[in-house]
């Protein structure tokens, strides 16, 4: 069936990621050091604040949130934009378009392998370390299942955003500029660098309806069961938001891509 073809891509991706064994080890280590930096910064911030709870978040809450956000970031990070601009510049894009599989589907499943590897190698170890260090501060239960669902949705939202940005590469060679704009906006507005709880009221209200929140904030909020998010009334709006953005961004992405490719082929570029 079709699924088997897709899973073959996943498998190839896993094998390719594992080829870089030293690279994987170094990545893990560098991540650990990064987390140490995050720890010291927020330790100092909370120590200077004089209170234990700021905006409803204790130091431990903030730490768990940021560490898991970083782990999630590493696991979700894709280089679609870079790959795209490279294949456009080298002309490889033509071959990609001629593959007997929809380009979008092909890209998604090619990346799935590295997602599996990174999830196992970065997110799960981080999760276990956090559990041990905090003596089980993360609630374990049905929220784990919800978290997995939310993460898959987050992955699709993230992928759709990547694809839209990557399509812009068909128009300009300034990959760096496009990529940095995307990265900065996503990191700030998704709550990956500072928890959304710290944002000023007005700002937060706006951010909550943007797609970026669906990538980091929603999965983590569900996992950490903040504000009693294990009830259906709390969960549904969040899943709803994720799903809505999945559909909107996917459709927008496909339309934009098809339009752009047609234009490029007409121009003979």
């Amino acid at each position: 069936m079709n699924m088997r073809r897709h899973l073959a891509l996943t498998r190839a991706g896993i094998m390719e990621s594992l080829q870089y064994r030293l690279g994987t080890a170094v990545t893990l280590f560098a991540n650990l050091i990064y987390l140490v930096l995050v720890y010291f910064l927020w330790r100092a911030i909370y120590d200077s604040a004089g209170t234990d709870v700021v905006n409803g978040m204790t130091f431990t809450d903030t730490m768990i949130y940021l560490i898991l956000a970083t782990a999630l970031f590493n696991f979700l990070e894709m280089f679609v934009v870079w790959d795209m601009s490279r294949s456009i510049q080298s002309g490889k894009i033509i071959l990609d378009l001629l593959k007997p599989m929809n380009f979008r589907t092909y890209t998604f499943w090619s990346y799935s392998g590295s997602h599996v590897v990174l999830f196992t190698l970065t997110f799960i170890p981080t999760f276990i370390v956090v559990m041990i260090v905090t003596n089980g501060a993360i609630p374990m239960g049905i929220n784990l299942l919800y978290f997995i669902i939310a993460t898959v949705l987050a992955l699709i939202v993230n992928f759709s955003m990547e694809m839209i940005v990557a399509t812009i590469c068909l128009y300009t060679e300034s990959t760096w500029g496009i990529n940095i704009v995307k990265e900065t906006i996503v990191l700030l507005l998704s709550g990956a660098s500072i928890p959304l709880a710290f944002f000023p009221e007005m700002f937060r209200k706006v951010v909550e309806f943007l797609p970026f929140r669906a990538v980091y904030d929603i999965p983590l909020t569900i996992l950490l069961k903040k504000n009693g998010t294990d009830t259906l009334e709390e969960l549904l709006p969040m899943f709803g938001l994720q799903l809505a953005w999945c559909v909107i961004l996917t459709v927008a992405g496909i339309l934009f891509w098809n339009h752009s490719v047609r234009k490029i082929t007409v121009n003979g570029g």
């Binding site: 498998r11 896993i14 094998m15 594992l18 080829q19 064994r21 994987t24």
Partner: protein, 347 residues
């Protein structure tokens, strides 16, 4: 040129002062991880320390005289580019000695690179967004070419090829042919003693190929530059090289004049016979084993012959035979036996 340094480092048996390159028993090994197959294999590889050594170049000795154009041939993965990388000083040989212009290239890479030029077929070394003339000016400064020499070189270029249309064009806007041409011109700009050309005509059209061949020939004749040419295009070899060196699996298997090449397996010619029904029959004949006239006569008894053509064997066919022969000898120790079988297969 610093002749005294050359004398000091002189290798045994190289009395000829005009040798541009001398290689003695050069070997190059690479250590690579033994990879396993499948998903389980890749997980196992994460922890494996199972390395294997690959010999890319095995005991190659070579002497190349100044001013020679040498065809350096071999099938893909034979070790050609590894040899070139050692000659240019980018790689250090595992064992053996190399002398290029009297220098040990990997020890004095910078000094060595003043006296060599390198072109890699599809990889431009020029500044991508600059017009060619600006690349030339930068190279002039980098190699510290005196103004007079630089002007003279440009004059020479103008006499050999029409450079005006490309001179003010950025490299990124050039066609592949123009880019290759530019790269070759750039490689000769500082008047190096040796130029390495790695597949310079790959992917080019017939007229561009001819243009580039005559340019190389002209520059070699004018400046007495030694040219090491690796290529898969026998047209390049026929047009440019008097001598060819063939390596396969890292070993040198042929090193002689191009004339000798044709008698490498005996004296071959291709006989073409047109039958009554206007079909052509083609057959390669080894003249040491059978006589052309005998074959024709035998054929004539079998059926009516309308026309006969006799052709010298092309370089391409000989090289093909050498590659096949070398590949076959790996499978069986009885080389002569295999050579005969191969011959039958060709016939």
């Amino acid at each position: 040129m610093k002749k005294h340094t050359f004398r000091k480092h002189k290798l045994e048996g190289t009395d000829k002062m005009e040798n541009a390159i001398v290689m003695k028993n050069v070997c190059k090994d690479f250590k690579i991880l033994n990879r396993h197959e499948g998903l389980k294999g890749s997980i196992r590889d994460l922890f494996s320390r199972d390395y294997k050594t690959i010999s890319a170049v095995k005991d190659v000795s070579l002497e190349i005289a100044r001013g020679e154009i040498i065809g350096y041939l071999g099938p893909n993965g034979a070790g050609k580019s590894t040899t070139i990388k050692m000659m240019t000083g980018v790689l250090e040989p595992t064992s053996g000695e190399i002398m290029v212009n009297g220098l040990v290239p990997y020890k004095e890479r910078t000094k060595n690179s003043e006296r060599i030029g390198v072109v890699f077929g599809q990889r431009s070394q020029l500044w991508w967004s600059l017009p060619l003339i600006e690349s030339f000016r930068l190279l002039r400064d980098i190699y510290m070419v005196p103004k007079k020499d630089y002007e003279e070189m440009l004059e020479l270029y103008r006499s050999l090829v029409d450079i005006e249309p490309i001179l003010h064009k950025p490299v990124r806007q050039m066609s592949l042919g123009q880019r290759t041409l530019s790269d070759i011109l750039a490689a000769f700009l500082h008047n190096p003693a040796i130029v390495f050309l790695d597949e310079p005509t790959i992917g080019l059209d017939v007229s561009m190929k001819a243009k580039i061949r005559s340019l190389i020939q002209g520059l070699n004749a004018e400046k007495n530059t030694t040219v090491i040419l690796t290529t898969h295009d026998m047209g390049d070899v026929d047009a440019l090289c008097k001598r060819i060196v063939i390596i396969d699996e890292g070993k040198k298997i042929y090193d002689n004049d191009i004339e000798h090449l044709k008698s490498y397996f005996g004296s071959y010619r291709t006989l073409r016979i047109r039958h009554a029904d206007d079909t052509w029959e083609e057959r390669v004949i080894d003249e040491t084993k059978e006589d052309v006239m005998d074959v024709i006569m035998k054929k004539q008894k079998e059926q009516k012959i309308k026309d006969i053509q006799l052709q010298e064997i092309s370089t391409e066919e000989v090289i093909k035979k050498i590659y096949e022969n070398s590949a076959a000898s790996k499978e069986s120790a009885a080389v002569s036996d295999v050579a005969e079988k191969k011959e039958e297969a060709t016939v």
